[in-house]
Amino acid sequence: MKALIIKRLLILIPMLLVVSLMVSLLMSLAPGDPVSQFEMMPDVDAEYLQRLRQEFGLDQPWYMQYFHWLGQVLPFSYHPDAASFWQRFDFRPNFGFSYYYRTEVWDLLVQRMPATILLSLTSLVLAWVIAIPLGVLAAIYKDSIFDRISQMLAYAALSIPEFFLALLALVFAAKTGWFPIGGFTSVEHDFLSPWGRFLDIAHHLLLPTIVLGIGGVAGVMRIMRANFLDNIRSEYVVTARAKGLAEGAVMFRHVFRNAINPLITAAGFAFSSILSGALLVEIVMNYPGIGQLVYNALLQQDAFVVQASVLMSVIMLMIGNLLADIALAMNDPRIRYD
């Protein structure tokens, strides 16, 4: 197990290098640079624009900019002349500097992370909590009317694009007035009691959670159903029934544990999209998370913000897979990584 973890972490290094190089190249291909937007302002003088390009290193070729950025990137930093021992370590990772906000990219990510993680988690929980029982029931009562309807709804949910659902949700909110039209907190949020604030956020989270969760419900449910069906037909089920085990025990103690394996892998993937999965929904529903930040960074050619978000996604994907593999080994004693 240790060997697996070490190997995976080592693979991560070349992978991050290649990915970041690709992102740098792609960002450099876009016309103009982050300073271009000031070019048409009559009261900005040429000397200042040149100075800005110099400060940001935009007057250099893209690979020089890349190496310059690479030199800054650190998982943490050490300040030898800080007053106390603990202050010498700054555990904020350095992802470079944002041209647009003129501040550390990491600070920007930290600002937006809580909202995005919260939304991703609630929608994941929603999806799994609904999808697993539905999938199991659909498998047990295969070809019943319940199975048919749930299958049809699942196909429908999978085929509707997320952004369209988000738009529908906004129209629903506007027409009924039951829900806020996008956003994360209401205007009076800062003046509410802690309980009031909690409810305020819950109220805002409900629609985006449903929008983001529906696609997940359909996907997870279909996997669950298919696996459950595979396992129901296997010989150990016949054995268990022949032994005289109760039907509930057969289904939940034996079939369920075998059928859940592929879902553990799926959970690993879901983990990797915690930061990036809500991008479209965030943009459409004006939700102040990382997706919105990255989208604006792309428009503004704020290269290092884009870079950081891509790298975070890569890291999350690797960690997600690793966690899934570990969980798999724990659930299924047949799997070993020696």
Partner: protein, 602 residues
Amino acid sequence: MIIMSMSVNILRLWVLAALLTMATVLSACGPGQPPERARPQGPPPADADVSRMPPGQQGGVFFGTLGGMPRTLNPLQAGEDASSAMALSRLLEGLTRFDSAREEVVPGLAKSWDVGADQKTFTFHLRRGVQWSDGHPFTADDVVFTFQAIYDDRYPNRQKSELSVNGKPFEVEKIDDYTVRFRTADIYAPFLLYVGTSIMPRHKLIQAFDDGSLMRAWSVRDAQFTPEKIVSTGPLILERFRPAERIVYAANPHYYRIDSAGQRLPYIDRFIERIVNGQQASTLAFAYGQSDYENVEVRNVGWVKRNAERHGFTVYDRGPSQSTNFIWFNQNPGSNARGEPYVEPYKLAWFKDSRFRQAISYGIDREGIVQGVLLGRGLPLWGPVSPANRSWYNPDVQRYPFDPQRARALLREAGFTWDAAGKLHDRDGHAVAFSLSTNEDNEVRQAIGLVFIENMKQLGIDVRLQPLDFNTFVGKVMSSFDYEAGLLGLTGSWDPQGGWSVYHSAGRLHMWSPGQKTPQTPWEARIDELMQLQLRTLDVEARRRYVFEVQDILAREQPLIYTVTVNSYEGLQNRWRNLDPPQMGTLVWNYDEMWAETLLLR
């Protein structure tokens, strides 16, 4: 069967739980309201500025929207985009202020000033008793510090060029705690306007200045986690900053302006600005009564007005705006790195002929654009200054009303002829055709381009519209010069010096041929001379004469063929009192003097 009944039970429980949560959530979401803000009853500063508006009633919240998130509150950088500049302007004041309604520079943090006999020395007397929002006294040290930071080479900023004469910074000298003397290297006409730049708090920023981190101070991170460190002299203080959500400002208890009844301004308790995704979302919020104020774009005026009665607001027609739209030809004589000329030489010959440009100008149906594209909500434009700018608009420049006959006569005079099919040819038989580039993200501009193409067909000229990505367009116009004609708009500033980079032949935005070492034509040389003259006099009448002549020359030569200006529309909730509408600029410029008849929006 056991499973079925078990799952049905679970399902029931679930539905019940879901309904319960929903009910609690919904019940908790009645319209809340921010608590009233207690105001300290301390005496106002000895030299408080007394508002000329009638006294009003304290309390209430002003709800605004921002179409984009401020990128920083750093005083040296916030001027770079509208949202940040707007946020900072609520917090920091300058020595002077611009009174939009009377179009004049009035005292701000300085209560008065004396101009020396040489017209280059200005002695400012600061208001006594003014405090920063944290109670720290405001003194001459803050002023000296601000200019020191602006001129420091470690901290490049946009203000520096406006606050320099011939590249030389102003000399700033502290006489005593409440007196500061400025000396300029030469007479500088817009001095009093530009010296009103935001004064920064020395006691808060000196450390960052010394250790070289001033550019990173007051970032969005500081605004979010330590808003109390961002102190102000303006009407508001920063209470809370939620990135991509909203900014909550509260009344500054130490603001230096009072009304005639002795009440401290501003009247409002809070100013809450929601950050939304773009202009359209912002307009939508206003149209449904969720914000107090909105700058309504022309294309939205119709439907927004229909909601006015239901949501208790008024959309004001504010007359012509400061925006301009113009078409110009690339007159750059040079050649690119491969030695190819930027513009085909025979085309360059047309573009350089003022009769050709005048003919094009006569061929444009500006009234048609106003009616067809802007639905009557605009005005034909004949020069670089919009009629909105009362102080500097020259009404008597040459005009080019739609007249294809006149256009044809001018073209004939310049040696152009028409073939049997009615196509225009030049002296050497080249068919007259060119491409018109513009940025694709502006609908009004593209519509103007389409009308222009139709107008040019009447003269036998083929025009191809080429919409480009903004950065690509900028690259072509500003550095590669790889285009034939362009269509663009600029928003004018009040002071004529703001147009320097367009008018002066060495200017960066001298669109038709920017950054010339020596002026290419006698009339460009004359404009350069006039721009220098207007800058070197404090006599407003003399300055106006010079600036009017610049407008005359530009209208005569038509290097920039101005088309139309769109009208400005502003919406405001009816509950607001003490409006002081200016001719130019926003209706709510004096929000510190405005008060609300009903305290809440809903």
